[in-house]
Symmetry: C2
Subunit: 520 residues, 2 copies
């Protein structure tokens, strides 16, 4: 058995064991593998391509185990799609003109990853282990707006508070179901007593009156708020069910169940001061290990491992190592000169990536807080801006930055194709339909389109079942001594937790393989 | 017309104008009345009883208008029921033994007011005007627990994540309603097209499958989380509808629609560092105006205004003024020697107050975060502890303080009647059924029962329609030169916004009356 054969067989065995569930997936605790990163007293060399979260976590964990890691990072910063835009941030998109952000000190938005689900234990774990302070990200705000532009019917082209839509729909659907029970209309197996319990539930769920009818509720707000002395308050009137059904708010673009979904349900968190606190915390643990401004040019297999050709600050260079962990996003990988296998190359060619963009808009005052009572959360519209995100921090400050659009697919493509000034204009015009204060209060903006950003060229890997069946496996096994990590090698695409769990899996795989060598 | 008659007629007219809606209720902006707090060049004297939020805001706003205010405060601190308990806090309840809080630096809980609804514009306004930084209070956390103790059926005596209950109930009710439409069972006026839209809505709302059946959803969580490589994740199984109906979670004590209600829906906020940041900010604006340790003993009407007998640091004293603003809670007022009218005295005697208590439990580690992914929010149970509140701040710190019970009515009464050590024992035993980590991780506690706390003797005024009809009006009009303020003089009982709006109304009333004098 040649050494190469041996490597192949152990790594395949490892992958199979993982697949069969014989190995536990990476635990959400401190990683405690036995240190074993040396061979004949010398640290094993690992070259990591990309200092995004997957690369950083791989280097951090391999470093603990005694490996000698070098990260090649094309940019002058770490973090990849974990990127906080603040005053001074510069970017030039592919085929675009340069932007320099002019936000005031203390104002920022997260251009990429922007929220941490409470159940992403690995992300939470690294924040804990690295001492990154977290605060709540307000994902679901009942006071934010829905706005259906260009629709017909009485609720089109006007903004509606999410609380109105939510509570009206809960009211009407609860009323209808209670009525179905009254009419003994439902052929099902509930006992009379259980139906009574369920109707009681519906009365609470929909805030029905004693006749089990929905006639509005204070949950949707007041025309006149209750106050002191004689001011008892005056309720608003509910919208009609038919009007709501014609409002357009049930279209997927409004994503009306965002806060129900596993990834977006309460509680969401964010690092205090910006998401880049996470890569910066990793970076502190990797002093001297990251080569910045070092884009990879070639990835080669050698008899003893790998050889990577890159430039640093424009000058050609190369580095060799025993292993390589490639975290490059597939749209970047597909243009890399390499000895990668055909299956990997095909995956890089054919796994599609999300087109997505954001714009940060700085305003002279936080009118959404002062005048509309909106503290964080998301407004949704069918316009190209799709979502407006209000900051969950810095409440009641003088100025503020909100995310004026967060869009996807064709909306993101259309907006990204505008010049920078055109994006700003569109964000202000469309957002201005929801917030008339935009015109007066606007200061400046910074926009980005991930599919046009060098070294990313996409938001995240977009697998459907067919694509995953065809291409995924190639990315989850080593290609010789080259391993792949990053959100695209997981079922947690688009999430930092994906990058981190892929890093742990890769570390386990390399370490298991190195252990085999050592034993031999 | 005597002066007294004139005063009576103008104040009645003012109250009537308010009642008829001819005067706008206090706006949620800076208060901009024309300064007019002087008579013959001398500041008019106003004595304010109680330096809770109503008293503080009254003094602050009257001070801006040129009045000379003195606040008499029984305690050595301001804030009243806006009270943050931290290391060093002392309290002795009526008939109880003294407690001194032993929490570590930086740990605290809000013993009284603990959350600010985003639509309480007046509370938000004062935080803005006084520079009190706010952060999000996480009111609804899908990861928190429901626990029905002593029930029967498969879901009793075990904890269930709120996300499981929510998403299962949404699923089943959506399925049932969709089925009712399928069976053309509902005699109602929706068109076929509208029914289709509604069924689409239900499919999203309940995450129904293509057959419009609820078979579980990833929204309720995973048995195995999705991960890297081959780990696609494995869904949990939903509970059965019948089991859920017998779970007991529909009882009011579980308050299953907390986050739907107007007062508790997202977004809620809290001051950074504790709710007492608000009274402290007012206090800074009232240097020298507050007499601490000065409980009121008598409240008298005089020919020229009012006379108040009090003690300060135990020594008898008295003070006279033109007006008095009495913010004493009714259970305190009813035991005060006074010249108050019979209708006011009857209100003080007969308006009931909430019995309510809290306990802060300090733990050696934040196991609810580390092991259960709970970052803020509320668990609910039918046990005497009723609610467990997890802190929405200081995430991932070493130690932590959670609120081990927040209870009401008979539960609060029963727990309050235990000795301090017995309350702690009960909190640990009952809470330990939800969090087995309690025993190992417990440090120390501090408990309070508002109905036993001197100078409050109750949580908040409890009006039902009959009580309000009978007693409320007497508290919303001046009794001679004595005005009443506080949450009990509003339709926003139990909320800081109630105290604040009552303060503004009182300031307006006094100022309108003083303006009449001046013109005369």
């Amino acid at each position: 058995m040649t050494r190469r054969d041996f490597i192949q067989s152990t790594s395949t065995a490892y992958a199979s064991m993982m697949a069969w569930g014989l190995l536990k997936p990476a635990p959400a605790e401190a990683f405690a593998l036995p240190p074993n990163g040396t061979q004949d007293g010398k640290a094993r060399k690992v070259i990591i391509l990309g200092a995004g979260l997957a690369g950083l976590a791989t280097a951090y964990e391999l470093g603990k185990l005694g490996y000698d890691c070098t990260l090649l990072e094309a940019r002058s910063r770490s973090g990849g799609r974990v990127w906080t835009v603040r005053g001074g941030t510069k970017e030039t998109e592919l085929g675009g003109t340069g932007q320099t952000c002019r936000f005031e000190d203390g104002l920022y938005f997260n251009g990429g990853a922007a929220r941490i689900p409470h159940h992403h234990q690995l992300t939470m774990h690294y924040c804990r282990e690295l001492g990154v302070p977290l605060e709540i990200f307000n994902g679901a705000n009942e006071a934010a707006w829905l706005y259906n532009d260009g629709g017909t019917g009485p609720l089109a082209n006007k903004r509606m508070r999410i609380k109105e839509y939510h509570n009206d729909m809960r009211g009407y659907t609860s009323e209808l179901l209670a009525k179905a029970f009254d009419q003994s209309a439902l052929d099902q197996q509930l006992t009379k007593e259980d139906v009574e319990k369920l109707v009681d539930f519906l009365k609470n769920e929909g805030d029905l009156n004693t006749a089990k009818l929905y006639k509005g509720t204070n949950r949707r707000g007041y025309k006149i708020e209750p106050g002191a002395g004689p001011v008892a308050g005056e309720l608003t009137d509910p919208y009609g069910l038919t009007d709501l059904l014609h409002s357009g708010f049930m279209q997927p673009v409004f994503y009306n169940v965002g806060e129900y979904t596993y990834e977006q349900q309460a509680t969401l968190l964010q690092p205090v001061g910006g998401m880049d606190a996470i890569p910066k915390a990793f970076e502190k643990k990797l002093t001297g290990k990251i080569l910045f401004n070092a884009p990879v040019k070639e990835l080669r297999k050698t008899e003893t491992g790998v050889r990577v050709v890159y430039t640093q600050n424009g000058k050609p260079a190369e580095i060799t190592g025993e292993f390589c962990v490639c975290t490059l996003p597939l749209p970047v990988l597909k243009n890399l000169e390499s000895d990668l296998s055909g299956t990997v190359k095909r995956a890089a060619d054919f796994v599609p990536y999300m087109k997505t963009g954001k714009i940060g808009l700085q305003f002279k005052r936080r009118f959404w807080e002062e005048e509309e009572g909106i503290y964080g959360g998301i407004s949704r519209t069918n316009m190209d801006i799709n979502q407006i995100w209000y900051p969950s921090f810095g409440f009641m400050g003088k100025k503020g930055v909100l995310i004026g659009y967060y869009n996807f697919y064709s909306r993101a493509e259309a907006v990204a194709n505008l010049p920078i000034s055109g994006r700003e204009k569109l964000a202000l015009e469309q957002g201005g339909k929801i917030h008339p204060q935009y015109t007066q209060a606007f200061d400046n903006s910074f926009s980005l389109a991930w599919h046009k950003i060098p070294y990313n060229e996409g938001g995240w890997a977009l697998y459907d079942d067919a694509i995953r069946r065809k291409y995924y496996a190639a990315l989850t096994e080593p290609d010789g001594n080259i391993y792949f990590a990053g959100e695209h090698t997981t079922y947690l695409t688009a999430w930092m937790a994906g990058a981190l769990t892929s890093a742990r899996r890769t570390v386990e795989a390399i370490h298991a393989r190195a252990g085999q060598y050592t034993k031999k």
